[in-house]
Amino acid sequence: MTLKDFIDKLLRRQPASAETAKERLQLVLAHDRSDLNPELLEQMRREILEVVARYVEIDLAEGDVSLETEDRVTALVANLPIRRSIAQPSKGGTL
């Protein structure tokens, strides 16, 4: 946080628009580059959570699956807090 941000916050002023522009661009470009529309992303998110939930008990409210982008590389980032593991998954390998 810069001195200006701090004063803006004290005075409850809006932050400078360049930062807002950058954040909005990064978000929209992550979607543009992946060619996934929000609907498909939401469907993928649900399916990922379903699969993970078969193995571990996850905190669905805290879970987050999103696209992030840096240096023209877009990554799917999942942050899924695990409450506890489920002792025996329905079908498991030899691992």
């Binding site: 810069t2 001195l3 360049a18 522009a21 950058k22 929209v28 470009l29």
Partner: protein, 270 residues
Amino acid sequence: MSTTRTILICSGKGGVGKTTTTANLGIALARQGAKTVVLDADFGLRNLDLLLGLENRIVYTAQEVLAETCRLEQALVKHKQEPNLALLPAGNPRMLEWLKPKDMQAIVALLERQFDYVLIDCPAGIEDGFKNAAAAAREAVVITTPEVAAVRDADRVIGLLNTKGVQPVQLVLNRVRPKMMSNQEMLSVDDVTDILALPLLGLVFEDEQVIVSTNRGEPLTLSDSSSPAAQAYGNIAQRLQGEDIPLMDPSQARRGLRARMRKLMQTRIF
């Protein structure tokens, strides 16, 4: 193998300065001694002739060259004040109905035989006009402004150029307003280069003289203008030629107490 540099000047979004950049870089390269041709690939809405002040001297266009109803030399319009520069005008908009990437490649192949630089003024958008023009290019300069819509569209174009194997792709940041940047009310140079992940070939400050020069049909680089945009285009041309010219610094454009105050306000406190 020809040593000609064939460079696509593109942006995705319209109105960010493709044609102005093509005209000014064309003149600047020619003044630096390089035999240069500018090719108007915007068949729908051609304007490069107008910005160069050559609109009254067009007899034949790329269309007649392709149809072999005239020789290339007859279609090329030589610039009077800068004889190292020639324009190959865009043909009739009806050409868009049948023009294919191989046609653009054929035109460019003819031009590469006799010029050091072929600058292709690309149409806006990412449809056929862009694809035809991109097919003929070896490298590209992407023009953008520090605005969200222009940066987003530039990103789309960069993605397409990457898949087509156009290399290198460099960035020109146009219409920079140093005052707004220092107030953090405009995306900074670093913001844009970080987001687009392209090497910066140059930045051009917003400059009213650009409008004056287009009114007259005399690109700024034609005279030894001291205007910021004229200098910027001259620098970009030199960098294209491989010279190491330092980039302008928007924060140096404004000094004094207010600038120092602004710098203090940008200090990280936590």
